[in-house]
Symmetry: C2
Subunit: 367 residues, 2 copies
């Protein structure tokens, strides 16, 4: 039994994996695999339409928004959104809250000018800035709602008079959101939605009407909207597994129930980090992410030993991002609270073991 705390591609529900495996052998009993049916069949049309319907229902997406499935990950959105909306003569406003927000900024610069309204780079991005102004002349305001590497999350954002574009790759479907607060939401699927290879875009239709840029077809959101995300061959299997996963989420009570669980899981872990004498959290407590919990040890020399100690208990995927170090524990939707309990117990055991060693060493020194 593995406890998969990986940051993405990450844990998916066991039942979803079972259903996906069955469909790889025989999809809906039609005698063909989900991997070998055309996207132009009625069978796949039903899949893509159900997936869209589940996104609309679970996120309560208003009727004047379109739901698109693209390829290329959030990284492709970094450039594609600027290509579509950063029109000449305008600047785009970006909030710089971490590694991926900075990547988004770098890609936007290929297409126009960027105004960084605030940055938390001064403290290694371990907090989220507040009190900044979004220029009324900006083409749009972009931010990343959950910073996977740094472990911060934004549960509210400033009022904006310009279109709001949000990278929700790592916290989408983890809690209710007000879609109407946004003009475009995008998310790589490989955390709370499904396997890698698909990117969700939820976009307000009237934002698409503002596009004046000449954009190649595969970079034009309107082409995806007008062709039900099937201008070309879509990532059939990734969409299918996302459908299975969203069915699972709906069945268990949707994002409202999921938020209750995600709060319980993250509270349990943060409480232990704050209590345990060996560990300390990295993110400012007011900005702590429920999805990605970052922490270190007061004695960095013990980190390798703890990793090994944890892996013996089936705990995987907790090593921090290389540039950040320490630990990053991801608590995505499919992770059961029982896995967090195992991790917390493991931290307590490691602390006890360590204190015993210390006492025993001190005794030796005394003797």
């Amino acid at each position: 039994m593995k406890h998969n705390f990986g940051a993405g591609p990450c844990i998916l529900p066991a039942i979803v994996l079972d259903q996906a495996a069955d469909a790889v052998r025989d999809f809906n009993g039609i005698g063909l695999s989900i991997l070998e049916i055309s996207h132009r069949t009625p069978e796949f049309e039903a899949v893509i339409n159900e997936t869209q319907g589940l996104v609309r229902e679970l996120l309560n997406v208003p009727a004047d928004y379109s739901i698109l499935f693209l390829q290329g990950g959030a990284s492709t959105q970094f450039s594609m959104l600027a290509m579509n909306f950063l029109h000449q003569g305008k600047k785009a406003a970006y909030l710089d809250t971490g590694f991926f927000s900075l990547k988004a900024i770098k890609e936007a610069l290929f297409f126009g000018e960027v105004d960084i309204v605030a940055s938390s780079k001064d403290k290694n991005y371990y907090y989220v800035p507040v009190g900044y102004q979004i220029p009324a002349t900006a083409a749009y305001f972009h931010y990343c709602s959950n910073n996977t590497i740094e472990g911060t999350e934004m549960f509210s954002h400033p009022a904006s008079s310009v279109p709001v574009i949000c990278d929700m790759s790592s916290d989408i479907f983890s809690r209710p959101i007000q879609v109407a607060d946004f003009d475009l939401i995008y998310a790589g699927a490989q955390k709370n939605m499904g396997p890698a290879g698909m990117t969700l875009v939820v976009v307000k239709n009237n934002l698409l009407e503002k596009i004046t840029a000449e954009v190649a077809s595969m970079s034009d959101y309107r082409i995806f909207r007008d062709n039900n995300s099937m201008f070309n061959t879509p990532p059939v299997f990734s969409i299918y597994v996302a459908m299975l996963n969203l069915r699972w989420l709906k069945e268990k009570g949707g994002v409202t129930q999921q938020e209750v669980e995600n709060i319980a899981k993250s509270d349990l872990l943060y409480t232990e980090i704050d209590r345990n004498t060996l560990f300390y959290g990295l993110a400012d407590p007011k900005d702590r992410s429920r999805m990605n919990v970052t922490f270190k040890m007061h004695d960095p020399g013990l980190e390798a030993e703890f990793l090994d100690f944890a892996s013996q208990k089936g705990i995987v995927g907790i090593k921090g991002y290389p540039s950040a170090g320490g630990f990053r524990v991801s608590l995505y939707n499919a992770l059961p609270i029982s896995s967090v309990e195992v991790l917390v117990k493991c931290m307590q055991d490691f602390e006890a073991k360590n204190l015993n060693q210390k006492v025993s060493l001190e005794n030796k020194v005394t003797v």
Copy 2:
């Protein structure tokens, strides 16, 4: 038992589907699904490296070429290649041989000028032009080696003094090729390589050195080369299944053996089309594709009946592309010759049935 003649996503070997299904449940016995491991794990590094190695071995790719795995399908390559190589002040030379070659041309026009060196549009693309000149000043020469919708294939191409870029989406891995004849080859995976969601690019390294355009990261071939196709999260599962499928191809004797089978399969079907009094082939016999066989019935009123007759024998995916009509039968690598035998028998039975009806009707009229 289904006989899957679909044009793509299309048939994959049964053993590959079994192995893929197993890995969705538990990948290599590590207690995690292939869908829930990080692309940064040693386990996935081994997968991507083996897949690259198999491509290199099976296509005999020279050492000075890079092998990349992208997302977005061949349609994304239509614009991406022009973005990288159609530099200002230059024209690109394109051969117009069908629906997808024309799409490639349309996307290139977003980035520069196009010189259509020859077109077979005058005869609905049912032949491949010869005897054209490729201007020595062109940025590159682009063509599509197999025209999926029209059913033509090019087994040779004119000598070119400029870089040659080829869309091999539907005939890659179907026969040996001389990679050194090309500067960049691209192919959507969902025919002979694996499931939808991944695109193969084989590119000569010194072509990449010629890029002077400022291109966003996810559109820059160099970024994919420099990051082993993992600048961002790659389509993990699609790459994994492609690896399984290429292992299968290697085991059965590689592209040389595959070509023998593909010739046998297509010869069998074309012979029946030419013999059968009800059917006629669409492509010029000298340009007939081994991958996609297009044909119609002399009496179009019988086509729906034949489709129904064939589907009762488990034959699926033979309906022609909507704009082309008639039938399109795809004979990709994983399709066994026994399926072609079933189709040929079905065409013969339908002819016999039809002749009997005719005789019986004529008898009635006489009486």
